[in-house]
Amino acid sequence: MIWRPLVVLAAGALGAGAIAAEIPLGERKSGYEFMGRDTRAMQDDDTSNPAMFWVLDGETMWKRKAGTADKSCADCHGDAAASMKGVAVRYPAFDAARGRPVGLEERINICRADQQKATPFAFEGKELLALAAFVGRQSRGMPITIPEDERLKPHIEAGRAMFNQRQGQINLSCAQCHDDNWGQKLAGAPIPQGHATGYPLYRLEWQGLGSLQRRLRNCLFGMRAVTYPLGAPDYVDLELFLMWRARGMPLETPAVRP
């Protein structure tokens, strides 16, 4: 059963030509617009959005002292509503000390290790997701704005190359689904345009919160391609390209998706 739509999709993509056409800026749609009424309602109301549990946990952690420095996030950054507003919309951001872009989760862990002198959180763990969701929540509704930075350009291009690269046993690229065939069905579910506007988000299939990297691993696994370890620079480049591709679209963090 699962084979048929994939084969149709691959044939359709071949017919459309090998080079994927980018979606014009005005025709971009958030994954929200592909969801059913009930799932939209969950996201629209904070008291029915289960991701808010992570945001509330993150708020508690923001104020909790940690590490040998015995400092909380709030001791340096103060009220997150002011200090973290507009932060998540410009990540992944270039880190001069490391000479490469870092994602929001990694940024939190760097702060934790360097400033709090505490053990970094595990990627995809409850704590890191909670803090990332809490920080992301402060920028909800703001347009995604990856800054014009020459140092980011090679990484955006590397992410773009990965997005257009055919890979895995099925020999698919991200672009073949999300640029060329969005709005069509894959095994009964609509194919969204793949804009990373709401991460970390609550996915009903996961029964929990997950990061964009977890979503990317899901897609790569479905393509039967090699997945990278969480936190790998390859993901950060792809994340950066996806955020650049979604530039100007409002951040929905923490979103709900089927």
Partner: protein, 106 residues
């Protein structure tokens, strides 16, 4: 203690039908899943949910392993008098959580 999110209108007219939404943080581990080592993860779910309006039971639900994580209930009642709605969840391993919400009826 598990977190719960409650949405009850603060004010209502007498005789109005009001919508009540409750969401509670819980893993709802089914008891059927194996862990990484192939061992069965023991069941850990919420089994009962009760809502009382000024002490009188107005809604009750029994929960079973097929119910998703973070159970979400939406139900309605008729606003009869001002007072308190109380919510109580109980479950496996001595799980217990409660919340209250005020409603003013004119």
């Amino acid at each position: 203690m598990a977190r719960a999110l409650i949405n009850v209108p603060a004010n209502a007219k007498r005789g109005d039908i009001v919508e009540i939404k409750t969401l509670i943080q819980h893993e709802m581990e089914t008891g059927f899943r194996p862990d990484n080592m192939g061992r069965r993860v023991p069941r850990d779910i919420i089994t009962d949910f009760v809502c009382k309006y000024n002490g009188q039971e107005i809604f009750r639900a029994e929960l079973h392993p097929a119910i998703a994580a973070n159970p979400f209930f939406v139900f309605t009642t008729v606003a009869t008098e001002s007072g308190t709605l109380s919510f109580e969840w109980t479950g496996d391993n001595g799980f217990s959580a409660s919340e209250t919400a005020k409603i003013t009826v004119e």
